[in-house]
Symmetry: C2
Subunit: 195 residues, 2 copies
């Protein structure tokens, strides 16, 4: 299995984290973003969106972290990380949607702006990111995990850019349940360190 | 089954469209957005994000259109609209991610700005929206449907705000394969009209 990613990509990291939690080996291929490799063939034939991660497994190519997580969970994680039961799957995927919305467009892009790698309004990103943190905090105040009472791809999807929020100049101190959840993830067997 | 939505919500409409394609009845509950009902209890107890759609079925409450679509597809659509096979599920979900990213933050929010209902940069939204349209066009040039060679929740998720792009002052003429795909969706048995 090949995982195309970059050294700093939190979205590529999510897939590597799930594979590590499942004790499943993969080959890591670093895409040269500064050199524009992601905007040229052959990479654009793997992913027309010019983004990482891309996962290649048994001849199947998938892009977008959410789709890669779902694939790995269903292929190598049985019913544990993304169940096939409709209600349970919905419960997991609603939190994956928070990762794709408030966390990506808020915390991730806010961090990119704060670090000078992106243009856009930091304040708009921070506002959206804090909305996401409030929703996570409300859920985690009375629950150890985002969905189903156990670790799922919901947690894996939301974790990296939430944990990195302080790098976006967004303090996590007002969100103690989120901080406790981050520590909980970081002590899971097979946890892979987030840089 | 209860679907909480608003009259104009394309995200609520997606769920209603899938239910209609599956010939499955539901009760439609209009949330009073102008009156701020979505920001108050009891609605915020259904959805802490203060958004529509919310689906209530057999005592289960789900929010986010992507999670609602996955639930309905798995509960009432067998293996057809969202298969449990890992690779096939991944293929569908990668396009659902485009709906949550380029289409929502590009075409949907661009339309909101163009119609005076949102603040933000129209040009940034339009640029992201056109990236999404290019990815859809490249896929649909040689495929009738976004995933699996048949209609799935990928098409349902991407359709509404793509079809409404002209209302965001983004013409679809440069994307003929997208236009043909829109017509294809609109002739599916059980299609529900998009206003």
């Amino acid at each position: 299995m090949k995982l195309y990613t970059t050294k700093g990509s939190g979205n590529g990291y999510k897939v590597a984290l799930l594979l590590s939690l499942l004790n499943k080996a993969h080959e890591r291929i670093i895409v040269d973003f500064p050199g524009g490799e992601h905007k040229r063939k052959p990479f654009t034939e793997l992913n027309p969106r010019s983004q990482v991660p891309v996962l290649e497994d048994n001849g199947r190519v998938l892009w977008d972290s959410s789709a890669c997580l779902a694939y790995v969970a269903r292929k190598y994680g049985g019913e544990r990380w993304l169940p096939s039961d409709p209600g349970q799957m919905g419960e997991v995927l609603q939190w994956v949607a928070v990762a794709l919305n408030e966390i990506q467009f808020g915390l991730q892009y806010g961090r990119g702006i704060a670090q000078g790698r992106r243009s856009g309004s930091f304040e708009e990103c921070a506002e959206l990111g804090r909305k996401g943190l409030n929703v996570l905090e409300a859920r985690l105040k009375n629950n150890d995990w985002l969905a189903l009472g156990r670790p799922t791809i919901a947690d894996v999807a939301c974790y990296p850019y939430t944990a990195r929020a302080p790098q976006a100049n967004i303090a996590l101190a007002p969100y103690p349940a989120v901080v406790a959840w981050i520590r909980r993830i970081e002590t899971l067997p097979g946890y892979l360190r987030l840089d």
